[in-house]
Amino acid sequence: MTPFLSGFMITLLFVGGVYFVAVLERCSMTGNVSWSGPARSFLLLFAQEEIKTRKHDKVFFETAPVLFIGVILLTISILPFGRGSVIIDLGTGALFINAALVYIMVSLLMAGWAVNGVYAMVGGWRALAQLIAYSMPVVMALTATVMRAESMFLTDIVESQQSLWNILYQPVGFILFYISALAIAFLPPFDLPVAEGELAGGVWADLTGARKLLFRLGRLALVLTLSVAVVVLYLGGWMGPWLPGFVWTFLKTLLVAASFFAVGHFMPRIRHDHLLEYNWKYGVPLALYNIFQVGVVLLL
């Protein structure tokens, strides 16, 4: 496939994917499928009045949404959608995913700080706590996939799953990465920074109009990005019989995204001290065990 055509396909899949994810998100909240729902909420936020809180931090107020949506687009641009269909095949792909997604926390903290409101600030500090909790399991799970592929190219990681997908080869790593992905995207069981019940919207409490729109749109893109990352790292990427690679990636991605929202639908919100405690007491030892297990199996 020519670079131009595959770039076009990736853009199309990305935009379509974000719309599907928006429909899924609404479905998880309201219980019915509404194809016009995302468009209506887009128009609502687009027409909403811009309110800036008094004594806000001007620099952070302007940069936080740009940073949030920027790093997500950087991450999606290095993920392969099909054989040879990747915008930028980066030599440090597996590391780059992790490095770029850390800035989700940075932009949430910046947005929480910027509006100068108490709820937003508490949400920002919680975002930092959440990063400290999920960061180690996600990095170690990524390392184990790199060990198997002997390369940090994401295309090589997909190729290494030719004989057996990583979900079966390293199930512990998959579970850790899956849960951490939910925490990175601050989806319902881990939606501590934007908790609606206890912080009245947290980081997003005082944002209106364009900035809220960018954060909402960014989160949908983030869910899609993380679903593609799960597919690429653990579910064999574009591999599958009969259908072309693009279709397989898209189908698997939607399935993973739907499962993300399903988990959030049936789980209560976790407390932030419990999140830290469970991750460091059980998550980190399990992640180390996963590296050890993969290491031993690779040498046999």
Binding site: F46, I51, G70, S77, L90, V139, G209, D273
Partner: protein, 120 residues
Amino acid sequence: MTPILQYLLLFGMLIATAGFVWMLYLIKQSLGKTLEEPGKDIPAESGNLVPKPAWLRYHVRYYGYALLFLAFDMEMAYMYPWAVVYQEVGLLALLDMGVFLMILFLGLVYTWTQLGLKRQ
């Protein structure tokens, strides 16, 4: 594609994102101005009009985890190159990193025994 071109492309995407956001702001600005109404610009605080700023000194009660996180994050920087050459080097790599990780893991266990793994 050479690596330098790849990073230039990534940088270009950041610039493009900033441009997209700026365009959105400009469109929104042209749609109408914000009405001046009393009390509109006060941050959400459940009806309390607290005059002081929210930028207080705040007891971050998870600082113990934060310190532990620093130690582990440093170690992860070494893990990536190690993971790439792991199969080439073989058993020696497993032993080398095993000893290193065991020391770190003992640190985690020590913190746990000293009740460091809880909200302070």
